[in-house]
Amino acid sequence: MKRFSRFLLWATGCAIFVAVAVSPAISADKIKMGFVFSMTGGAASYGVSQKEGAQLAVDQINAAAGSGMQVTPIFEDDASVPQQGTNVYNKLINGDKVAVVIGPTLSNTAKITNPIAQQIGVTVLGVSNTAGGITEIGDYIFRNSLTEAVVIPNTIRVAKEKLGLKKVVLFYGNDDAFTKSGADVFRKVLQAEGIQILGEQTFAKGDRDFSPQLTQIKSQSPDAIICSALVEEASGIVSQARQLGIAKNVRIVGGNGFNSPALIKNAGEAAEGVIVGAAWNFSSTNPLNVKFVDDYTKKYNHPPDQFAAQAFAGVFIVYQAAKSAGTADNRKAIRDAMLKIKGIDTLLGKFSFTEGRDADHSPVVQEVKNGKFSVFVK
């Protein structure tokens, strides 16, 4: 055993030195993309979707490129922990010398890791970060994920218009950055729209039992339940609400976190009528989207979610920028080309970056109908 441990220490040393000595050569006709996704840990279900979406995009690009510019993907796992995210960023940027980084999965990790890329001058494209203060980190930081600040006001406006909401209850996860900041936006928008908030209830990440809160909510008889949650919790909330006898006409309204086939799969019948404001429209007839949903379902045997869709789109956006810059390794040129991305066709629709390098495309309000997401029309 002693020997084994000595070996381990030895191996550590060797691994580190090999990693340093073999600084990878950069080839000009292959663009190196670093992907930082949470493939294990608490956010694993999102990270895995993202990886699948990104992999599909890379495969399609490489198959189509022929002798043109190929993509060399390097997938790394941040284990849903910011510390590891930092380590992975340093490794990708300084060790592998990637041209761009796509990721990381979680906004909180992005706030810690993106300054590293900004300082060195490497483009980062967030494909799932929706919290505030991400692109503000610097002029190398982009994202193609519509923020809650864009999606939610639209959702509430549409819902108010079509359902005549007057009084609602806000229900959210208060120990998670995504769900908490979503709730803050909901609260502000609801107040601005003059909709009364009867009360607020919270849950914690990982909770599966929501009946105490839903029982309270039921007793307040709201017109709708406004919910900021990720899909793991969302499906439980939806099905338990119906089980507790909260009537179907009390709609449940959610944001980006709800936009996953898992909602319908896990909540089943109860998901009918749930309103989901989101960045990506599953049932969009945009040919790029139809093809994506088809290809993805064929390859992985399950339908894609928003995480996969945005990651897929992200790879194409970056590839587009690199191609128009005519370089696979000039980090600054790629960034400059990213700034110029305007109105390109993606599965998300016509896509541009705003002045602040955030996503600019129109959000969608969907409704679950007959076991499918469809555009909300009353």
């Binding site: 895995v48 029982t215 089943g268």
Partner: protein, 296 residues
């Protein structure tokens, strides 16, 4: 009034799930004085494998449930063989056992992730028929009643088994005094392995029931309940089986009542853990503990 009644029903239900989870935890602690932190991972694997049996292998839940329970019990044997048995003679087995069980938990988590994927899954709709009853404005489902019944039944069987059967008596002897048990001709290591089997089987059963009710199973579902399970066995008294059940109910009710009384859920977990903290200071042996501190 309806509101409060509904909340009490909610609390009793979730409390009995906590209790079932905690019974396995506390059984191992009662016998070995060791915390098995891989228990939550067994809970997860039990639930996920039952989903797999129903979904991919097309079994009825009535077959998948006992099979998954047995499988979880097998994991218990594995935990014992790989992580606890080799350490038993070590002076620091309380500490090192804790760590080796963490190692097993990591390995099981990885297995869950690799075998079943990161996404949340559920039992196919209609796996069990669910009726919803409205009694005086209080909603109860047949699934809830069934789960409480199954949990009660399992705990009754366990209690009777420990009190009446030969093996059960041997387990209690080992818990009381390992050396004495050995002198009495009890196969101590066999009994310990068997205890792990039962403990993990119960954990797996809890995972299946949990998954059946909440319709959402994922590799990290053990994480949230792990901490609560620890709180429950402290609350009830380490090593006490009725204590674990009572602790589960108490913890479930404290969560629900915090929501019901304060009208908001921000304080739910804070209250639960503050109560735990206070109980430790005022009555360290828990509600039904063996009435002695370690090393007293």
């Amino acid at each position: 009034m309806n509101l409060l009644a509904q909340q009490l029903v909610n609390g009793l239900f979730i409390g009995s799930v906590y209790g079932l989870f905690a019974v396995g935890y506390t059984l191992v602690f009662g016998v070995l004085d060791i915390l098995n932190l891989a228990h939550a991972a067994v809970f997860t694997l039990g639930g996920l494998s039952a989903v797999w049996l129903v979904q991919a292998a097309g079994m009825s839940i009535w077959l998948a449930f006992p099979l998954a329970t047995l499988l979880a019990g097998g994991l218990g044997l594995l935990i014992n063989a790989a992580a606890f048995a080799p350490l038993r003679r070590r002076a620091d087995s309380q500490f090192s056992g804790l760590i080796s069980s963490i190692a097993m938990a990591i390995i099981f988590d990885a297995a869950a992730l690799g075998l079943f994927g990161a996404r949340s899954v559920r039992f196919p709709p209609g796996t069990v028929k669910v009726h919803v009853w409205q009694i005086a404005g209080v909603t109860i489902t047949s699934l809830q009643v069934g789960i409480v019944l199954v949990a009660t039944l399992l705990m009754l069987i366990l209690t009777l088994f420990l009190q009446r059967s030969r093996t059960g008596k041997a387990i209690r002897t080992v818990a009381e005094n390992e050396r004495a048990a050995m002198l009495l001709g009890v196969n101590v290591s066999g009994i310990i392995a068997f205890t792990f089997f039962i403990s993990s089987a119960l954990g797996g059963a809890a995972g299946v029931l949990y998954g059946l009710y909440f319709d959402s199973l994922a590799p990290d579902m053990g994480r949230a309940i792990e901490l609560k399970g620890l709180a429950v066995i402290i609350l009830g008294g380490m090593g006490s089986i009725p204590g674990a059940i009572l602790g589960g109910l108490a913890f479930g009710l404290s969560e629900v009542l915090t929501v019901a009384v304060s009208g908001t859920s921000n304080l739910r977990d804070a209250v639960a853990f503050t109560v735990l903290f206070a109980i430790l200071l005022l009555r360290p042996s828990g509600l039904l503990g063996r009435g002695k501190l370690r090393e007293a």
